[in-house]
Amino acid sequence: MDFDNLINGLDRATLDGITRGSIYALVALGYTMVYGVMKLINFAHSEVFMVGTWTVLGVYTVIGATSSSGLGMVIGATLLALLAAMLASAGTALAVERIAYRPLRKKGAPALIFLITGIGCSMVLVEVFGQVLRFFFGPPFGRVTVNIPAVLETKTVFTIPGVDLAVSNTRILIIVGAIVMMLALDAFVNKSRLGRGVRAVAQDPDTASLMGVNQERVIMLVFVLGGAMAGVAALLYTVQYDITKFDIGFIIGLKAFTAAVLGGIGNLRGALVGGLFLGIVEVYASAIWDSSWTNVYAFVVLVVVLMFRPTGILGESLGKARA
Amino acid sequence: MPDLTTPSSANSDEAVGLEDTSDHDLIEIETSGAVGETLLEVDHVTLRFGGVVALNDVNFEIRRGEILGLIGPNGAGKTTCFNAMTGVYTPTEGKIRFKGKEIAGTKPHKINHLGIARTFQNIRLFPEMSALENVMVGCDARHKSSVVGVLFRSYRVRPTEAELPESGIRRSLAKVFGVSRHTLEERAGRRRSMELLRFVGIADRAHELARNLPYGYQRRLEIARALATEPELICLDEPAAGFNPAEKEDLMGLIRRIRDLGHTVLVIEHDMKLVLGVTDRIVVLEFGSKIAEGTPEEVARNPKVIAAYLGEPDDAA
C-alpha cells in the first residue's frame, strides 16, 4: 500500500478519475435508459461505443486531419467527427434493436434470450472490425491497436494555483462535454413531450400504452439517444487516448454498466454519479495499490455498494419509481 | 379463449361427497388445538404508509375451524390487512399473532411453515410446470430431504409394510437397506397431490402445464397447491373473481369441504352472496377501519354495512 503516492498525486489522480468517469458516465447512459424502459441489459452497447471510435478515425482519415492541422481544421474535423460518431453509434444501436431485440419482443421471449442475442450482436460487431473488414480492406482493421491522429493537440490551458495542477484543453473538453451532454439529455427526458413518453413507459409500459404512448417509438428513441451518447463518449475517448481497437468496447462497456448499477440503474443522474465515482475510485485505488488490478477494484466497489445499497447510490428510477 | 366450463367432478356438493370418500385420510390434516380457540389474532393493528392510514386500529380474530369472511368495498384495506397477516407488511402499531406467536418480520416461507397458506387474487401459478408438479411444490414444503439426500439417497428409513415394494428383489433389498427418505416422500407427495387435484376436481388434467389450463382450473389449482402445504389457516384472496354463478356455487361447496378437512379458512371476497352463503362469521372493513363483525345474518342487517355497500350495487348483487 502506498498512500503517499496517492496523497502526493491527489490532484492529478482526481482529474484523471473525473476524465475517465465522464466517459464511463456517457456510455452508462445508454445502458441505463435501455434498462429503464425495457428492463434489459443491452450487451451490444459496448460495441456501439466501439463503432463510434472507428468512425472518428474514419472521418479524420477521409478529411486528412492530423495533429499539425490549423485551428479551423481542428475545430471542423472534431465537430464533424463528433457528428459522425453520434450518427454511426446511434445507427448501430438502432440496428441492434431492430435485428436482435424487436423480433424477440414480438415473440414474447424470456429475458435471457435477449441477453444472448445481445451477446451475439456484440460478437458480430467486434468481428466486423477484427476480421470481416480486415479480410476485405486490410489494415487498419484487424486485431491490433490502431492509433488515431491526435488532431486536438494536448496543451495546458491553465494551472490551478496552489496545487500546481496543469489542466489541459482535452480534459476540459471531455469533462465539460460530458456534463453538457448529460444536462441536455436530462432536460430532454424531463421536459420534452417525447421525454415524458420515455418516463411513462419506464414507469408502467401497460398504462403508458393505454394512454396512447407508442411504446415501439419510445424504445427506438432510447436506443438512438443512448447510441448518440456513446458516440459522444467515443469522440471524447479518442481525444484523450488517441487509440482504438476492435475489442476496445468490452472493458469500457463493463465499467459503464457497473457505473450505471452503482448510481442506480434506470436513473440518468445516477449514471453521472456512478461514472464519476467509479472513475475516481479506480484511479485512487490504482495509485494506492497497483494499476494492474484496476478492473478488480471496480468490481469490488460494485459488490460492496450493492450489498449495502442494492438499488445503487441514487436509487433506481427513470420515471419515478420502479416496480 | 379460456374454457370456463365447470369441472364435472365437482358439480355439486353432494355428488362430490359421494365419490370423494376414498382417500380423505390422505389429505386431511392434523391440527394441534381445539376447534373454536383463537388461531390468528389481529390485535389493534394500525398501518401507515407515510401520511396515509391504510389500517386503523383493526381488531379481530380467526378461530380454529371456522370460515371467516373479510369483506369491504374497494380500497377498504382488505388486501393490506391480508398482506399484514401474511407477513408482507409489519404493522405500525399493534400485533398480529398466529397461535400466540408474533409473525411480523417472519420470512414468507417460514410463515408457510408455521401453517399459513394463501392464494393470489391475480393467479400466480408456476406456468411452465404441470398441475401435478405445482401441487407437489406445495407438498415439498413439508418434506425434509436435503440436496445431499436426493443426490446420494443417503438418508435411509425403515419402510412400513405398506411402503414396501411388491416385487421380490426390490422388496428384499428395501427390507435390508431401508428406503431413502427422498423416495418415500416423493411417492407420498405424488399420491397426496393427485388426491388434492381430485379433491378440487381437476385431476383429469393433472399432467397439463399450468399455463394451458382453463381459468377455472387455474383458480382451483391454486387452492390445491395451497392446501398441499398442510396449512392450519388457508387464506383465499378473492377466489371467485371471474367465476359465473354456477362456478361460484361449486366454490362454496369446495370451501366448506376444505374446512371439513381440518383447515381454518379466511375468505376475502367482493361477492356478498358468496360470503353470506359460506362463512360462519364476517368482518367488514371500510376505509381501513372495522365497521362490523358478526354472523352473516347480523352483518347483512347492519345499517353501516348496507350503507357502505350502497355505493357498489354491482358487488352486492
Binding site: 429475458a111 463493463l254 | 416461507h109 404441470s130 408438479e133 399432467h207
Partner: protein, 379 residues
C-alpha cells in the same frame, strides 16, 4: 429451419421414449453409451466424415471429443444454474479456471505454491500434492468460491447477478495473471499432474498422445454427472428451482426457501465447473490465464441456451455443436467468432426456446399415464 424442427418435435420422440418398455430404454441407452465410447475409433463411411482429422491441418479427433465432453460437463452444470434455477451466471469461466488452477497450484512441481511447501517442509523437489488429493481440493475450492460469490449476490435482482458474476470471472483471470509469486503470472504453470495409471508402451497411461483415454475418463465422469443431475431435477430440489425460476415470490409463499435453493444451485454449478476445469488443466498439463477469457463464459451460456434452457439433453447438444463445429471447420478459424455471433443471433431469433426445448410436460413420472387414466375414470 424452425419448421423442420417443429415437425421433428411433432413426432413426439420423447413421448415414444417414455412409452417404451424399461428393457428397451435400457438397451438403447447402453447402445448409445457404447457408441460414445467407440467414437474415437470411428472409421465407417459415411459416418467417419464427422471426424475432425480428415485433413492434415485438422485437430486430433480424440482431443476434440475430449473437449466436447468437458464442455458438456460445463453445460450440465450451467444448466442447473441457468436452465433450472433461472440464475444468469456470466462468470462461469471463473469456476472453470479455479478448477484448472487448483490442480496446477497444488499438483505441479512447477507451481510456486508447491515449491514453497517443498522448502518449508524440507521435501524433495519431485514432491507435489498427489493427484487424488488435488481432486477434492479443486472441488472444494470451486464450491467455496460459488458459495462466497453467491451468498451476497443471490439476494440481488437477477440482472445484477449477471454483472457481478461477469466481474467475478474477470477477477479470477486477472488474479491468476497478476499474482506472479503464486500462479507464475502470465507465464502459467507447466507440469500439471495427470491421473495415475499403469505405464503402457513406456508412456504414462494418461499422456499427451493417447487422447482417447482422456476422452473415456471424461465421458465416464459425464455419465455419472448426468445421472446425478437427473436425480436432482426430478426431486423436490428440482421442483424448487423451477418454482423459483417461474415466480420467486409465489414460491416462497408456498414454503420454498428461495435463497437456500438458489445457493445450492450456484454451488452445484460451481462444483461442476471446477471439475471440468480440472479435467481440462490436467489434459493440457499446462494452465495459463489467457485460456480463461470472458468469451468462454459467453460460449458456455450460449451452449445452454441454444440447446434449450432447462433440458439436460439440449445443453449437451448445445455443447456438442458449439465445440465440435468450430473444430470440424478449422480452416475458417479466423471466422469462428464471427460465425458464432451470427449463429447466436439467428438461432435465438428463429427459435427462442432453443433447439431441443425442455419437454416439461413429458418429463414426468413413470406411472403418469396410469395416473391420468385413473383420474379420467374418476372424473
Amino acid at each position: 429451419m424452425s419448421q423442420i424442427l417443429d415437425a421433428y418435435r411433432g413426432l413426439r420422440l420423447g413421448d415414444r421414449w417414455d412409452g417404451a418398455p424399461t428393457v428397451v430404454r435400457w438397451a438403447v441407452m447402453l447402445l448409445v453409451i457404447a457408441f460414445a465410447f467407440y467414437l474415437p475409433y470411428l472409421n465407417i463411411l459415411p459416418f467417419a466424415y464427422i471426424r475432425t482429422d480428415l485433413t492434415s491441418s485438422g485437430s486430433d479427433w480424440a482431443s476434440v471429443l475430449f473437449l466436447v465432453v468437458v464442455y458438456m460437463i460445463v453445460a450440465v452444470g450451467l444448466n442447473v444454474v441457468i436452465g433450472l434455477a433461472g440464475l444468469l451466471d456470466l462468470g462461469y469461466v471463473g469456476f472453470y479456471a479455479l478448477g484448472a488452477y487448483s490442480i496446477a497450484l497444488f499438483g505441479s512441481t512447477n507451481s510456486p505454491v508447491v515449491q514453497a511447501m517443498q522448502s518449508k517442509f524440507g521435501l524433495s523437489e519431485e514432491w507435489a500434492v498427489p493427484f487424488a488429493v488435488c481432486i477434492p481440493i479443486a472441488i472444494t475450492m470451486s464450491l467455496i468460491a460459488g458459495v462466497f460469490l453467491g451468498a451476497p449476490t443471490l439476494r440481488l435482482r437477477g440482472d445484477y447477478l449477471a454483472i457481478v458474476t461477469l466481474g467475478f470471472g474477470e477477477i479470477i483471470r486477472i488474479t491468476a495473471r497478476n499474482l506472479d509469486n503464486v500462479t507464475n503470472g502470465a507465464a502459467g504453470i507447466t507440469q500439471v499432474p495427470v491421473p495415475p495409471g499403469p505405464e503402457i508402451d513406456g508412456r504414462a497411461f494418461f499422456n499427451t498422445i493417447d487422447a482417447e483415454r482422456w476422452y473415456w475418463l471424461a465421458l465416464t465422469i459425464l455419465i455419472l454427472i448426468i445421472w446425478l443431475a437427473r436425480r436432482l431435477e426430478h426431486s423436490r430440489v428440482g421442483r424448487a428451482w423451477l418454482a423459483i425460476r417461474e415466480d420467486e415470490d409465489a414460491a416462497s409463499v408456498m414454503g420454498v426457501a428461495g435463497f437456500k435453493f438458489k445457493l445450492w444451485a450456484f454451488a452445484i454449478g460451481a462444483t461442476l465447473g471446477g471439475l471440468a476445469g480440472l479435467l481440462f488443466g490436467s489434459k493440457q498439463q499446462y494452465v495459463e490465464p489467457n485460456a480463461f477469457m470472458v468469451n468462454l463464459s459467453f460460449l458456455f451460456v450460449a451452449m445452454v441456451v441454444i440447446g434449450g434452457s432447462g433440458n439436460i439433453f439440449g445443453a449437451l447438444l448445445g455443447a456438442f455443436l458449439l465445440t465440435y463445429l468450430p473444430e470440424r471447420f478449422r480452416e475458417f478459424v479466423d471466422w469462428r467468432p464471427f460465425a458464432f455471433g451470427v449463429a447466436l443471433v439467428l438461432v435465438m431469433i428463429l427459435r427462442p426456446q432453443g433447439l431441443v426445448p425442455s419437454r416439461r410436460r413429458a418429463r414426468e413420472f413413470e406411472d403418469r399415464r396410469h395416473e391420468a387414466e385413473e383420474a379420467a375414470a374418476d372424473a
